[in-house]
């Protein structure tokens, strides 16, 4: 029900993002979605990609601060209010969202959620009947 996401600690300095992306290119890892949580001094670069385990171990070997976490990827209804419907199932169940971001997959909107109450979130999603993507639903390679 969840998919794996990489989180990478990077400095706010020109060239640092580039070097992480070059490493991923060399490892033939494809990025499907990404976002950066930015602060004044550093950023946390979050990535949904192909082969997250291999990507993580190869980046780690190169000395990059990288971690894997499990996130929910929920498909949106492609109409006004689609996002609100999804967030509502979390707020109604009293589940806090740590962070979220969205991307398009074959024209469908997908929202990524991270919460520190994954069990409760799982239940709420099942109850709502919303479609939750697994890793097999992602385009794994070009």
């Amino acid at each position: 029900m969840t998919i794996r996401q990489l989180s990478i600690f990077i400095e706010n300095q020109s060239g640092t993002l580039q070097s992480v992306l070059e490493r991923m290119r060399q490892s033939r890892i494809q990025i499907i979605a990404c976002t950066i949580a930015d602060t004044a001094e550093y950023g946390i670069f979050r990535i949904i990609c192909s082969e997250p385990d291999r990507a993580c171990s190869e980046l780690k070997e190169a000395g990059v601060a990288v971690a894997i976490s499990d996130v929910f990827a929920i498909e949106l209804d492609n109409q006004p209010g689609g996002a609100a419907d999804v967030v509502a199932i979390f707020s109604e169940a009293g589940i806090g969202i740590t962070y979220m971001y969205a991307f398009l997959l074959d024209g469908r909107g997908i929202m990524i959620f991270r919460t520190d109450q994954p069990d409760a979130a799982r239940e709420a999603i099942v109850r709502s009947g919303l479609r939750c993507l697994g890793e097999k639903d992602l385009p794994t390679h070009v």
């Binding site: 989180s7 949580a37 946390i44 780690k60 976490s69």
Partner: protein, 436 residues
């Protein structure tokens, strides 16, 4: 094992008598051979005959790094050039380097002192010992090298640089001992991790670490990662080089080779000698040196002399770990801050690599301190992947720092590998205040 029980276990009275005789001789020697000292003594109306016992040392003038620089290159040399068989130079980052010439006898005393140190660490003929101080103008490499040869162990003159090759040699040759800076030891451990060389593949047993200050926490980390017992090795090129003092198995202070180097502790401001046990600036007088003897040389190192007998049987006096440099000491908002204090806190945080940088600035007439540390890639995890979690880590670190330093510091967490790695002495402070 004790290399030279006659000197290392001498009674205190005999030692003081020997020191007194040697002091008289060295003062007479510099008076006749070094115009700098002759003029100084004449100005103070002192003659070598006024110096009869070791207690008379307080009558003598001090020598500073600046005196050494002002007399660059050979102004303080006492022996004729024909007697000098080696010349070392200290790093000249803030002016002329300090040039030190050694006679054959100087080198033989140096090897003897180094052999005393290595024997105290448990190094003997059957050891394979890698010297990873830089070979060259720096005294560390060649100084340690001669001592290893003197005790009869097999010396591997690895020097610094090419750390990967060195790590493989340590594994392949079954190297049992190493002499290097503590920061290089950690760098070596990291390199071994990267190469997949594990503790059970290496035979390191003894480490002789010096040339930069280090803490007990750092010692623990090096010992854990390299599987050896780490000993302090203290020295400075102006006096001799490594092995001015050395730790014994008790590891409670470093025994000073005081039959050759007489130590005093003074107040760095009033220059008055401090009572035994108090912390102040360490001052050395070389009692036997021919090439470039120095009288009451101010080392700028802060430490204390430890009273009492050592259970190891050696009677030569011990000095505490260096607690800072009188010139490294930062005064921030009126509080004395030593980089070593920050280091001790960094080493308690498993999230950070054992490296840090202090950046001092003055903004709107207020001193600011920023401490930069590096995240350890193997500790970064899903629980640390939000700015809130990093924030919380920063706050925890800042609170620990504040309790040790008594002033607040801004903390900045950097990505792995972004702080300067050092293969020699590391620079840990950037002071941007334009005060002078």
């Amino acid at each position: 094992m004790i290399w030279n029980p006659n000197k290392e276990c001498m009674s205190r009275e005999q030692m003081r008598e020997l020191q007194g005789k040697r002091l008289h001789k060295i003062v007479e020697y510099v008076y006749h051979n070094v115009p700098f000292y002759r003029h100084k003594l004449q100005e103070m109306d002192l003659s070598p005959d006024d110096i009869r016992t070791i207690d008379d040392i307080v009558k003598l003038p001090f020598t500073t790094k600046k005196d050494l620089r002002d007399n660059y290159p050979f102004g303080l040399q006492a022996a004729p050039q024909s007697e000098i068989i080696r010349i070392h130079a200290s790093s000249g980052t803030t002016g002329n380097p300090t040039i030190v010439g050694y006679t054959r006898k100087d080198l033989s005393i140096w090897s003897e002192c180094m052999a005393r140190s290595l024997t105290a660490y448990g190094v003997g003929r059957n050891d394979i010992f890698s010297v990873s101080y830089g070979y060259g103008l720096f005294t560390g490499g060649l100084g340690a090298h001669n001592g290893v040869e003197t005790v009869g162990a097999s010396v591997v003159p690895a020097s610094t640089g090419n750390t990967e090759k060195h790590a493989r040699l340590i594994r392949d040759l079954g190297v049992t001992g190493i002499a290097c800076t503590p920061s290089y030891a950690l760098y070596l451990a990291e390199t071994m991790d990267r190469l997949g060389i594990t503790r059970d593949q290496i035979k390191l047993r003894v480490g002789a670490f010096g040339a930069e200050p280090w803490t007990e926490n750092m010692r623990k980390e090096i010992q854990d990662r390299l599987g050896l017992k780490g000993f302090n090795l203290y020295g400075l090129s102006e006096i001799m080089g490594p092995s001015v003092s050395y730790e014994c198995d008790e590891q409670h202070g470093s025994h000073i080779n005081e039959d050759h180097f007489f130590p005093e502790i003074i107040d760095p401001v009033t220059l008055e000698p401090l009572p035994a046990g108090q912390t102040g600036e360490l001052v050395f007088t070389t009692l036997t040196k021919e090439g470039m003897p120095v009288i009451r040389y101010r080392t700028r190192d802060l430490c204390s002399l430890l009273p009492g007998e050592c259970p190891c049987g050696r009677t030569n006096v011990r000095m505490s770990a260096i607690q800072g440099r009188s010139d490294d000491m930062l005064i921030i908002r009126g509080i004395n801050v030593f980089p070593s204090q920050v280091e001790s806190v960094v080493l308690t945080m498993k999230e950070f690599a054992p490296r840090y940088m202090l950046i001092v600035d003055r903004i709107n007439n207020l001193d600011t301190l920023m401490v930069q540390v590096e995240l350890r890639p193997d500790v970064f995890s899903a629980t640390l992947d939000t700015p809130a979690a990093i924030d919380e880590l920063e706050k925890r670190f800042a609170a620990k720092l504040k309790s040790v330093l008594s002033i607040g510091a801004k903390v900045q967490i950097k990505a792995p590998g972004t702080l300067e790695r050092s293969e020699g002495k590391s620079t840990r402070v950037i002071d941007k205040r334009k005060l002078y």
